[in-house]
Amino acid sequence: MGPLRKKAVPASVLILVAVVFSAWDAELHFGDVTDIGNSFDFLSGMWPLDFSMADHTLEETLITVEMAFLGTVAGLAVALPLSFLAARNTSPGPVVCNGVRSFLTLLRSIPELVLALIFVPTFGLEPLTVIVAIFLHNVAVLGKLLAELVEAADPGPREAVASTGARDVLVALYGIVPQIFPNILSHYFYRLEVGVRSSLLFGAIGAGGIGDVLFLHFKTFEYAAMAVDILAIMVLIWLLDILGAFFRAKVI
């Protein structure tokens, strides 16, 4: 604790100053907290739950899952080969390695929402726009994550497969993929969950899915129906979590 305590005072002061400045600069109206009753009214408006539109909610929830699934699966399919080009230990050369890495970083720096907006003029306010945005974003994110897995893989099996005169693609497929497979699966399910969350947000711009329905119910003050939408989302995320754990347990 000795050396820590020395730096604790200036560090606390710094953090405190940053908190106060941020709160002041962002012009937070803390006084509005007296209106908390409005939020309770809003929440109480959700009860009793209105299941009259549940069919529609389920249909659109399914669309959300489908969008996230298609986008992330396509992302994984493209990210996997790219990750081998980006990993230092499997890349055919420094030019390819750095080229792919830079491309992935550039792509990752574009927010998913921006990607979606870019493709609205092409595909319209449709699920396809959302799928393309999720796809591109996941190529970038999974490409980087999988490249790290490839770099951390044990070189032993690779060397053994290479020693038989097998082609590079087989050295990668047999010498590395089996080792990192459970981790690929973990990353994938996490990205699927994130994909579901972001396709919810894209619903807000009107591109379909349960997010679209939720915001529509919100705007038309149908809070009791909206509560059912929220319930569907919560159950969905929970199910994905179970599914991910199930598949991971299967392959380990």
Binding site: P157, V161, S163, T164, A166, R167, V169, Y174, Q179
Partner: protein
């Protein structure tokens, strides 16, 4: 015939060379054992043979063809003719034993077959036969990482058998095994050497074992060749030459009254 010609390997510019002007010619049918202390350059040398490591200078030739200068396709072809086994076995742990063995056929199978994992029945049969030959036919469908060390090395040897190479390279193939298992594996390698007429080069850490299996022993010290001869020519003073410590400071302690007890131990006299 495998030729190492003036091989020098430097891993880093500042590091001392792992191999220095190393020349050696191994004739077909020989069973060569490389001896040397840790860091002497044995693994480096054996990996230069099949091009897993590229030497800084010098050349490796296999039956007159240059491994060092080979283009990718040629190199793959050359490697297919050389089997290799390792100290840590280096199997694909998550896959079953049979698939691990079939890796030995990858060079000769159409690419789509290996990519999709659909192997023709005759290849599966060959792999099963190889597993029976090394005494673990009953483990074909087990996962490779569930096996004992000795069993894993047998899987690797079965992979070499289906690969049908003319040369077998072994980087300390018995160093992770108990003495009895190590002995059994060495016997198996010796049997394969005789039966398949497979030229064999092994790194070993045990002088006693080396003298028993080798037709020729090569000693490496600090990347240089310091002994090359028949097992019976490897007397105590030659063993001492291979293994003695670099710094003279340790000498008075280790060499007690002009007798080299270290080689004594190594020779298990």
């Amino acid at each position: 015939m495998l030729q190492f010609i003036d091989l020098t390997k430097r891993y880093g510019k500042a590091d001392p060379p792992a191999l220095q002007d190393f020349s050696l010619t191994v004739e077909e049918g020989e069973f060569v054992v490389l001896l040397g202390r840790s860091g002497a350059g044995k693994s480096t040398l054996i990996r230069c043979a099949n091009g897993l490591i590229r030497p800084t200078s010098g050349e490796v030739r296999w039956k007159g063809e240059s491994v060092t200068r080979a283009k990718k396709e040629e190199l793959l072809k050359l490697r297919a003719g050389m089997g290799m086994i390792f100290q840590q076995f280096q199997l694909i742990s998550r896959l079953d034993v049979l698939t691990n063995v079939m890796v030995g056929r990858f060079h000769h199978l159409p690419l789509w077959r290996s990519l999709t994992g659909t192997f023709p029945p005759e290849v599966v049969e060959t792999a099963r036969e190889a597993l029976h030959r090394v005494g673990i036919g009953h483990l074909a469908r087990q996962r490779a990482d569930g096996l004992s060390g000795g069993q894993q090395q047998r899987v690797a040897i079965a992979r070499v058998l289906v690969q049908r190479p003319k040369l077998l390279l072994g980087d300390e193939p018995v160093a992770s095994l108990d003495p009895v298992t190590a002995d059994a594996i060495l016997r198996l390698l010796k049997e394969i050497h005789r039966h398949e007429k497979m030229t064999t080069i092994l790194n070993l850490h045990d002088v006693h074992m080396a003298r028993r299996v080798a037709t020729r022993i090569v000693g490496i010290r600090n990347g240089r060749l310091v002994f090359d001869g028949k097992p019976e020519e490897l007397d105590e003073s030659r063993v001492w030459d291979i293994y003695r410590p670099d710094d003279d400071c340790c000498r008075p302690f280790l060499v007690h009254e002009s007798q080299p007890p270290v080689s004594h131990v190594l020779l298990r006299v």
